[in-house]
């Protein structure tokens, strides 16, 4: 398989894994959110994310099958349910524990902010299918970003209790934000061939938005801190194995099961 095709497949898997893993984390709030409306809102966001993940997995599967005439063909389900932890390329931010409602909202904001500007760039990708998925997804992500921004402001600029919880959430999550903008080699390849996003540019947009929302939320952005990375290359936190154990249980225990 040509080198740039491998990079494109890895890139699609990376984008799909980000969406799938965050979808799974958010879905754990189902039945536990502070009110029924919020329960429905967060599960709707999860649903959007799984749709985006599925579109990227289906495209990755198509590319893998087209370029691997001899091997067994794969489907989107294989890619989601039968890969091992070191094959997952999601950013660590998506696999961090939910914490309280504030931490989940902050994680959603940090991620949706990243996804929003990412898709804005990918709409112009030279790869038609990546551009089409981005075009489809950005409308959904717009809702997610606005909704989570409002929650960060509401809680950050809320009561002393909610404010102190948000300060804690910022401390917990901030070390994982740097990885979003540290390009993996497949991201650099895809940028060079005109199909991927420019993370330098993305970082600027993300920072401006984060600045705007944090200042409205009376939260301060931490100074320079250690950057936790490795997720894009399959090196994950201790959270990831229990997560996959739950996510993949059915297909591992009952291979090929359908319902």
């Amino acid at each position: 398989m040509p080198e740039n095709m491998l990079s494109k497949i890895d890139y699609c898997l990376h984008l799909a894994d980000n969406a799938l893993i965050l979808c799974h984390k958010n879905a754990a709030w189902c039945g536990h959110a502070p009110s029924p409306e919020l329960d429905i809102a967060l599960t709707n966001i999860s649903l959007d994310l799984i749709g985006q993940a599925r579109n990227f997995y289906q495209y990755a599967a198509t590319l893998i099958n087209e370029n691997n005439a001899k091997g067994d063909s794969v489907t989107d389900d294989h890619l989601a349910f039968l890969r091992d932890v070191n094959e997952f390329k999601n950013c660590l931010l998506t696999e961090i524990p939910n914490g309280d409602w504030g931490q989940t909202m902050l994680r959603q904001f940090l991620f949706s902010n990243y996804q929003y500007f990412l898709f804005q760039q990918l709409i112009n990708s030279k790869d038609e299918q990546i551009a089409a998925i981005a075009e489809k997804s950005i409308k959904e992500t717009t809702y997610h970003l606005r909704w989570s921004s409002e929650w960060v402001i509401r809680l950050g600029d809320g009561t002393p209790e909610s404010h102190s919880r948000m300060v804690h959430a910022v401390q917990e999550l901030w070390p994982y934000t740097g990885e979003l903008f540290l390009p993996a080699d497949y991201e650099m390849d895809c940028l060079k061939s005109g199909i991927g996003a420019d993370l330098e540019l993305l970082k600027k947009d993300w920072w401006n938005k984060t600045h705007e929302i944090f200042s409205e939320a009376t939260l301060s952005i931490p100074g320079k801190s250690f950057v936790q990375d490795g997720g894009k290359y399959g090196k994950h936190t201790e959270n990831m194995i229990p997560l996959l154990t739950e996510l993949q249980y059915m297909q591992r225990a009952y291979p090929g099961c359908e319902w």
């Binding site: 809102a41 959007d48 089409a132 489809k136 909704w147």
Partner: protein, 161 residues
């Protein structure tokens, strides 16, 4: 074989989640094309994760094959992305009769402005505009929850997208 006949058959296929709407009312059938003995129907999802798409695909296959069309292929296209502007006027009328407020004709919510006032949505039961939004997410990705301050009934709004 003529296109009109195909569209007439497609008109009979309902959206599984909102059965008063046909898939044509919803605006998700993008085109019907013939290529060398093969009939291809192009459809586009309302939302990335629209759970109805797989069912709709099967229904199209069944409807056409039971009417004598062989070699039917249903292809999903993502671009241009579906918008509520593609819903037919007939579809909007049917939605309202069904008790769901149809999408406003002008896109009012697809922007980044925070804490904006909820859209003015007309109550499908009593026609009052004296309504308020309960949540911008609802029972399916395409709907938001509203309540009417006039007749006090809650209702769903097919939100702009």
């Amino acid at each position: 074989m003529d296109k009109e006949e195909i569209y007439k058959l497609l008109e009979e296929i309902q959206d599984p989640e909102i059965p008063v709407l046909s898939i044509l009312d919803l605006g998700i059938v993008r085109d019907v094309v013939w290529t060398d003995e093969e009939l291809e129907i192009l459809i586009t999802p309302t939302y990335s994760a629209c759970p109805a798409m797989d069912v709709i695909r099967i229904h199209i296959q069944m409807m056409l094959s039971s009417n004598g069309y062989k070699n039917v292929k249903v292809t999903q296209v993502l671009s241009p992305a579906w918008t509520t502007d593609w819903m037919s006027e007939e579809g909007k009328k049917k939605l309202k009769e069904y008790g769901i407020a149809p999408p406003n004709p002008k896109q009012q919510v697809c922007n980044q402005e925070l804490f904006m006032a909820a859209e003015a949505v007309q109550c499908p039961h009593c026609d009052s505009y004296h309504t308020h939004r309960i949540s911008e997410f609802g029972s399916t990705p395409c709907k938001a929850l509203y309540a009417c301050d006039q007749c006090k009934e809650p209702f769903e709004y097919f939100k702009c997208h």
